[in-house]
């Protein structure tokens, strides 16, 4: 009996200590090393991940993405309801929510923010809100969005950075003739709705964010979030220097750790090497037009593309390039993307099958082709070099062309490349974004590949309006089946986001869509 009592006491003490160890601590500034600086911190006009991934700390959306990147959480709206016909969304705004200058967030701010984000001439993300017909305000706390057509991804679109809520009056008071001019001016003295406020920005070097004293969300201790006093972003482009600074205690976190250093940092005593689940996929995209530069294009033949897929040993590439961090792809979209289907790695390595397919396609002796890779990008160069060897075995001679980003873009847009290395990360918790770019030909010719499948196009168009989840899942299953078997890609691997944190950092998350969420981050002392 005594023993049991003792055990109970020890047990309760242990639980007690573990609870106190988990209790959040407030204060402090996290120093976070980034590989590149932001360019333009406007929710609507930005066009790069360096902006997107930190905007959620400055501006809140009506609905927030959950930490797994798939679900919806209340943000500046506490309630939302889609009408039965799917053409009206009614949102109830959070009472007492304020901008960082202490002014109450009104339905008018919401209407203005959404209309600006959906403006056809504003930025490149307006398509996400393409269904918006009009936004209506009702009373002190209700916003009604009327849609032109049903949009099954609409609620998720309201979690995306471009639909962030900004202060109309303060923004419109900015200098400038056009909206983009105003955005420029406003970005220099922004008033936000997110957990942090931009205090100072030394371009190319550092950015200092401080806690928004007017933020609405409450922490575990019942007091307002965020727990941190601030965030210092330091720009350290060189991977080795970034890691060195983290290891020597000069940083509390460092993003984009090269895969080759992950194992080493996992065993480092003072470092917590995180691999956050992501929607990132890496692949090779083939130009499938019948002719390129007037010459017949072997890649236009489905069997050739399948042969190249079977001849590519993806497991080996995962080992060589990602040092085992990556996982094989089971569809063109990541397994973390909603409505993803497929449980087996695509095209298991099979040289005999590859040779047979090449023979059937009329290329028993192989052919010569080329791949564009981003100069200096070790992952892309590594994959291309491995493919060069693997495809050599079926007679395909691959020439690797290293070019800079602008030259890459030109060749993509002109459709003059043979193959290209590519990577993708979702911005919305829905398969429609990647599918509109990868599959649906009217958007950008299926990632500039020239691939077109009428059935897939029709299925996608239908899925964009389908509100029945089961039917939409079935449409996506069909799209994936068509694309994965006949599409223009060589799927290579999925990778998580490698972030190295000091052991004292708690509660930081990079969600599968890439957003760095510091809202609930705290530092244990």
């Amino acid at each position: 009996m005594k023993k049991i009592l003792k055990a109970a006491i020890v047990g309760s003490l242990l639980i007690g200590t573990s609870i106190s160890a988990l209790a959040v601590e407030r204060g402090g500034t996290i120093v976070y090393g980034r590989y590149a600086d932001s360019l333009f911190l406007d929710p609507v006009y930005n066009d790069a991940n360096v902006d997107i991934w930190i905007l959620s700390n400055l501006y809140d959306t009506l609905i927030l993405p959950s930490d797994d990147g798939k679900g919806l959480m209340p943000g500046l709206a506490t309630k939302w309801e889609m009408s039965k016909d799917g053409l009206t969304v009614t949102l109830t705004l959070r009472k007492g929510a304020e901008f960082s200058n202490g002014r109450a967030i009104t339905p008018e701010d919401v209407r203005w923010s959404l209309e600006r984000a959906a403006g056809p001439k504003n930025g490149i993300w307006n398509f996400l809100l393409g269904a918006v017909k009009s936004v209506e305000t009702k009373g002190d706390d209700v916003v009604v969005i009327h849609l032109k057509h049903t949009d099954p991804a609409f609620l998720h679109a309201l979690t995306v950075f471009n639909s962030a809520i900004m202060p109309e009056k303060e923004y419109e008071a900015s200098k400038g003739k056009t909206d983009e001019d105003k955005a420029r001016d406003f970005a220099s003295h922004m008033v936000g709705s997110g957990p942090f406020v931009l205090k100072s920005w030394d371009r190319g070097s550092s950015m200092h964010l401080v806690k928004n004293e007017h933020y609405w969300a409450k922490g575990e201790d019942g007091k307002p979030l965020p727990y941190l006093d601030g965030i210092d972003f330091e720009v350290i482009p060189d991977d080795a220097t970034r890691i060195l600074k983290l290891k020597s205690g000069g940083l509390d976190g460092a993003e984009l750790i090269p895969y080759s250093r992950v194992a080493e940092l996992k065993s480092a005593p003072n470092i917590d090497m995180k691999l956050f689940p992501s929607t990132r996929v890496a692949d090779v995209i083939m130009n499938v037009r019948a002719k390129i530069g007037g010459k017949d294009n072997p890649l236009s033949k489905v069997k050739v593309r399948q042969a190249l897929n079977y001849a590519a040993n993806k497991q080996a590439i995962i080992q060589i390039v990602t040092h085992g961090v990556g996982t094989p792809m089971t569809s063109y979209m990541s397994s973390a993307t909603p409505l993803h289907s497929g449980d087996k790695p695509l095209y298991p390595n099979d040289m005999a099958k590859a040779k047979k397919l090449m023979q059937e396609a009329g290329y028993a002796d192989g052919f010569q082709t080329s791949i564009l890779v981003l100069a200096g990008n070790q992952d892309e160069i590594g994959s291309a070099t491995a493919l060069q060897q693997m495809w050599g075995q079926i007679g395909v001679k691959l020439k690797i062309q290293q070019v800079d980003n602008a030259s890459l873009m030109q060749q993509y847009h002109d459709g003059t490349f043979d193959m290209r290395s590519a990577a993708w990360t979702d911005d919305i918790a829905d398969p429609n974004e990647i599918t509109s770019y990868y599959v649906y030909s009217p958007t950008i010719d299926a990632v500039h590949s020239g691939w077109k499948n009428e059935e897939a196009d029709k299925l996608f168009e239908a899925s964009q309006k389908e509100l029945d989840t089961a039917k939409r899942a079935d449409q996506y299953a069909q799209i994936q089946k068509i694309y994965n078997s006949t599409g223009p890609t060589i799927p290579l691997y999925e990778t998580p986001y490698p972030v190295a944190l000091a052991k004292k950092v708690e509660g930081f998350v990079q969600i599968p869509l890439g957003n760095n969420i510091f809202r609930s981050t705290w530092l244990s002392k």
Binding site: S205, K245, V403
Partner: protein, 312 residues
Amino acid sequence: MSLLSFVFRRVLQMIPTIIFILVVTFVLVRLLPGDPASTMLGERARAADVARINDQLGLNRSIMVQFFYFVRNVVTGNLGTSISLRVPVAGLIADRLPVTMLLTLMAALIALVFAVPLAFLAAIKPRGTADTVVRGAFQVGLSMPVFYVGLVLLIVFAAGLRWFPVGGYGDTFVQHLYHLFLPAVTLALSLSAVLMRNLRAAIIGVIGAEYVDFARAKGLKSRLIMTRHVLRNALISTVTLFGLQIGVLLSGAVITETVFAIPGAGRLMIDSIYGRDYPVIQGLTIALAVVVSLIFLATDIVQAWLDPRVAR
């Protein structure tokens, strides 16, 4: 008087040089494959978005019209607005160029502090022990790539001994000097090697000259002979080399700035070339051209002072 008119002539010569650079840069950036809009918007850009942005940027006008606006703006002191960063180019340059100039200046001073005494030490007894050791050491310094030297210095003196910070630039002027010390040493290593070898050879040549023998015969103190007769004459070619090498230093700063995370003009230049940010490339090239021209001018003035024949 002749020195003054020499300086005036040299300043006048700078004008056509800078105009030439202005024209060449304007044309060259547009000859690069790719355009700012599609580079900025990335692979997801739809054709309509690219066209709209190019229209907003005025890039669909004829090249002559674009050049006219560019020249008009430059003449009125307006270098335009960065396409990707959406801030005035002049402000960007004012922020970033002084960083690179301070780094270059520190590197140049450190290089001189190393090179001059060691060149003397090596030249006094050619092929002696000191000469062999100094030349050997500098040979190693010269042959190591900058990013490697930088990383080694960071690992040893910053992360290991913690004498210096691991990258960054600091907030105050004293912090800037402290943060820039290791990167300046990195840059200085190869420069001092070049300078030392040149100066050593020049000193050896001058020491053997008849006027030095004459000075000795006059009974002048050897210290006076060394500073007034040997060093002054030996420095002439080294000063020319030093001026030319500063230009090289500025370009070497690109890698150093990346390794040490310094927000300088080198990194800005590389980023804007990759991003096809025409206004930044143009503005920065003009600014760098002015800086380099001024350095050459200063070099020429020092040379004219060392050797009055130059100014004639």
